[in-house]
């Protein structure tokens, strides 16, 4: 079953937007979650603020606490057109124009009443759970939030994988922190002891959902691809990267998503885009870097209008590299949480990131790869120009490069980006036709 609510396109014209059942389910899940958050204080449930990469949602859930993810609040503020004002608010109070706009958006939102995407105020945290995975800014972000909220903070330092290997010492370091520091603090805030059997149940459900998500990612090997692995992909990762991993809701969502994708494969159909289904796919691309959220649909349209579908992306792996074999293991609760945190995409060294992109380009038979380099995220962006060169050398596949930002509308130059993308795709077209730059 599908629905077709109306919305406004960039031109202002009223258009019908198709929503898949899974999208509607996800919307309900998010709504229910924010409702639960709004009732949390009166119901005595504890609220934990934490981050997406390397998050410990199963632990939070097993202790019957509720998660809030400031990054998600920021990107939703970007999509709702609120982030510019929030960033301005933070900059007025002394935050530099040079730093991460997720941070400033979050701080500005807090100063403006902390109203979430459903229009309801998000409760303050009972615990700041700082899972420091793959992004240095996280550390500063929660130091800043600690100034704003009177609550304890639990820190989990996840070592980096410079050469793509998790050593026993790294794993032991994370497990020791979980066992001796993080869990005791979480138990103190939750007012109850962690039941490892309950945690294992959550982890088992996570693995079940992860199986289905990987199946969805790999469906993009089909031609035409039944999914868009970047713009559509950010919806697919919604539940599993955020508050829902380990829940029955997430299991059901991914089962339903998988069924929908299977139906599209059977019907030889492409994915939905803001302006309808993309069946006629001229270009298969791999994308590196986060999307721009303030002009998300415009950005997506630039690709879709040219017949470009994204068959794989790295942004959709920041919350876990499930397609490279990782699954949460209910039999080793703390060890598996450590492996999960250590294995997120931005926790990998640059050489490993290049290896992974090369693999995606080859595995998904991509015509090209495209880098959206965002000003706010040095974890992603520093080194991307070298990655571009390395990938072109290794694969012979041409790369495209644009710059924008996560949620600062001042850094999305639509015409510049569109021109660059179109030029890039024209070059790809010429190459495919055996013209300029074609490999003999």
């Amino acid at each position: 079953m599908t629905a077709t609510p109306s919305t406004k396109a960039a031109t202002g014209a009223e258009i019908k937007v198709h929503k898949d059942r899974s999208q509607l389910r996800q919307k309900r899940m998010i709504g229910d979650h924010f409702d639960a958050l709004s009732r949390a204080k009166e119901e005595g449930r504890k609220v934990v603020y934490t981050f997406v990469p390397g998050n410990l949602c199963e632990l939070i859930g097993a202790l019957d606490m509720l998660a809030v993810l400031p990054e998600i609040n920021a990107l939703q503020s970007g999509m709702r057109g609120r982030s510019g004002g929030y960033i301005g608010e933070a900059e007025k109070s002394g935050h530099s124009e040079d730093v991460c706009t997720y941070v400033k958006c979050d701080i500005g939102m807090k100063k403006s009443g902390n109203v979430g995407p459903t229009g309801v105020e998000i409760p303050p945290p009972d615990l700041l759970l700082l899972s420091y995975t793959g992004c240095f800014t996280f550390l500063k972000w929660f130091e800043l939030l600690k100034q704003e909220y009177d609550c304890p903070i639990a820190m989990l330092h996840v070592p980096y994988q410079p050469d793509g290997k998790v050593t026993p010492a790294m794993r032991e370091y994370v497990v020791n922190q979980l066992r001796d520091k993080v869990i005791p603090k979480m138990e103190e805030v939750a007012g109850k002891k962690l039941d490892l059997d309950v945690l294992s149940e959550w982890l088992g459900r996570s693995a079940e959902a992860e199986d289905d998500l990987v199946w969805v990612w790999e469906s993009a090997r089909h031609t035409p691809s039944p999914i868009d692995g970047y713009f559509g992909g950010v919806y697919y990762i919604g539940p599993i990267f955020t508050s829902f991993r380990g829940t029955e809701d997430a299991v059901n969502y991914y089962r339903e998503l998988r069924e929908e994708v299977q139906q599209r494969i059977d019907a030889n159909q492409g994915p939905q885009t803001p302006d309808g289904r993309l069946d006629d796919q001229k270009f298969r691309l791999v994308v590196e870097g986060p999307p721009n959220w303030t002009s998300f649909n415009d950005f997506w349209r630039m690709f879709a209008n040219e017949g470009a579908v994204v068959v794989s992306s790295t942004y959709t792996r920041v919350g876990g590299l499930y397609d490279q074999g990782f699954r949460h293991d209910p039999g080793d609760p703390l060890g598996t949480l450590a492996d999960y945190c250590l294995g997120c995409y931005t926790n990998l060294g640059l050489p490993s990131r290049v290896d992974l992109l090369e693999k995606y380009i080859k595995d998904y038979n991509a015509d090209g790869f495209f880098i959206n380099s965002v000003k706010s995220c040095n974890s992603f962006s520093a080194g991307q120009l070298l990655m571009l060169r390395q990938l072109e050398e290794r694969t012979g596949v041409p790369g495209g490069f644009v710059e924008s930002d996560l949620v600062d509308p001042r850094y999305f130059s639509k015409s510049n980006i569109e021109n660059r993308l179109q030029s890039y795709l024209q070059m790809l077209q010429a190459k495919k036709a055996g013209g300029f730059g074609a490999v003999a």
């Binding site: 109070s93 002394g94 935050h95 530099s96 040079d98 730093v99 991460c100 941070v103 420091y132 992004c135 240095f136 800014t137 550390l139 500063k140 972000w141 130091e143 800043l144 600690k146 100034q147 903070i153 820190m155 330092h157 070592p159 980096y160 410079p162 050469d163 010492a169 790294m170 032991e172 370091y173 020791n176 922190q177 001796d180 520091k181 060294g349 640059l350 050489p351 990131r353 290049v354 380099s373 000003k375 040095n378 974890s379 962006s381 520093a382 080194g383 991307q384 120009l385 070298l386 390395q390 710059e403």
Partner: protein, 430 residues
């Protein structure tokens, strides 16, 4: 630009100190790394290991028979041509000049580079280095953010052993306890000399101005700890003997410049604007460990040898956990954010704080609002500006610092009226 050192006011008695500071300038700012070439010539087969700024466990490198070399980028003396093509406009300057130095052969004398966990940019630069310079050793060093000895300490000790093993595989000396205890003792001597220098700067900044102290400390980038300790000690002795009279400057603590360094001339410009920088976080790596790395006392009674019973690697790790200074790259858990800065202001009887951060420096700029709040709560005046290592125009910053200096002197809460009356007219240095 890389100007020669201007003598401090005080006349001919300063000849010796001027000569020493000029030597320090060449060591600190010379891009030819002549001292490193000399070290390798005098120690055939020994390694020279570069490292990015902030804290790096230099005793481990020295104990492997290698010379640790702090790489602070190209400063304002390098034209960035290739380096810029690897970084977007919104990335700070030090990685691009470091890549430029690498690609242009300036760092060929180094056998490897260590990238301590400062921030995401330097972390990723480590990965770039591994791809760009495949024949060189590139080592990312994860510094623990958990400061429990049994957790973070254990992890860090393992990282240090890994680093030593990799240097050995590269041709360095195999790490042994005796060499490491000796390197720790040398490092403690260096740290002690820096503490003496810092004390002199707080007591009599006109005798040891920041612009000189900067060069003397940074000279250690290409020296062994023992050699550096000697240089600093010589400077402290000579500077203490100066007869210059105090200048009517405000006393400031400068913070935020722990990685990418401002041009040296900018430090001079701040002094000319009426600011005595009595404390700073320039070259923070040399000051990160706030005290001696613990060496067990040997009383000889039971025939034990120095350090017996304690693993010197654990001693290095413990020092980082227990004596590591507060900086933007280090997670501040229980302690109040900004307390260390406020304490430094009070300890140095400073009049105010200058926040000087490199443009696009995430750690410093994300830290700044918290530190500013701490200063505001303690009624400490502050001002702030950004720079990059190749900033060429200082006029605006000089005027800003001058206005800050004047306002603190005229209206600053920390400058009592009677004290102001006693101050002499500011006499700009040449």
């Amino acid at each position: 630009m890389n100007h020669p050192v201007t003598p401090s006011n005080g006349g001919g008695a300063n000849d010796a100190v001027t000569a020493l500071v000029e030597r320090a300038r060449k060591l600190a700012l010379g891009l030819d790394l002549q001292a490193v070439h000399d070290f390798k010539r005098n120690n055939p087969g020994a390694l020279a290991i570069g490292h990015m700024p902030i804290y790096t466990p230099r005793p481990i490198i020295e104990a492997c028979g290698a010379l640790p070399v702090a790489v602070f980028g190209g400063g304002d003396d390098v034209d960035i041509i290739r380096g810029d093509s690897y970084f977007q406009s919104y990335i700070c300057h030090i990685p691009r000049s470091t890549v430029e130095l690498g690609l242009s052969g300036h760092l060929d004398v180094l056998d490897g580079m260590v990238f301590p966990s400062i921030c995401d940019v330097i972390r990723n630069l480590g990965g770039m280095w591994a791809m760009l310079f495949k024949d060189k050793w590139a080592c990312y060093l994860d510094l623990p953010q958990n400061f429990d000895r049994d957790i973070g300490g254990k992890f860090y000790a393992h990282e240090l052993r890994r680093m030593a093993d990799e240097m050995h595989a590269l041709g360095g000396k195999k790490l042994d306890d005796e060499s490491l205890w000796q390197a720790i003792a040398d490092e403690n001597r260096r740290r002690g000399a820096i503490s003496e220098l810092d004390a002199l700067r707080r007591r009599a900044p006109h005798l040891a101005p920041a612009s000189e102290a900067y060069l003397v400390v940074r000279a250690g980038s290409v020296l062994t700890a023992a050699g550096h300790a000697e240089l600093i000690q010589d400077y402290v002795n000579l500077a203490s003997a100066r007869t210059d009279r105090p200048i009517d400057n405000v006393r400031v603590v400068l913070v935020g410049a722990f990685c990418e360094q401002p041009p040296w001339s900018l430090i001079v410009a701040l002094e000319k604007a009426g600011c005595d920088i009595i404390s700073d976080d320039f070259q923070h790596g040399f000051r990160t460990i706030e005290g001696d790395i613990r060496i067990p006392v040997f009383d000889g009674a039971d025939g034990t040898q120095p350090g017996e019973g304690l693993d010197p690697i654990d001693a290095v790790a413990d020092a980082f956990l227990e004596l590591g200074a507060a900086t933007a790259s280090r997670y501040i858990d229980e302690e109040t954010k900004g307390k260390a800065l406020v304490d430094a202001v009070k300890a140095g009887n400073a009049d105010g704080v200058i926040f000087a951060a490199a443009s696009f420096c995430d750690p410093a700029l994300l830290d700044q609002p918290m530190l500013e709040a701490a200063c505001a709560a303690a009624s400490i005046p502050f001002t702030s500006f950004k720079y990059s290592e190749n900033t060429g125009q200082f006029q605006v910053i000089r005027e800003q610092a001058g206005a800050f200096s004047d306002s603190v002197k005229l209206w600053g809460e920390t400058a009592p009226v009677q004290k102001k009356k006693k101050r002499r007219t500011r006499r700009p240095r040449a």
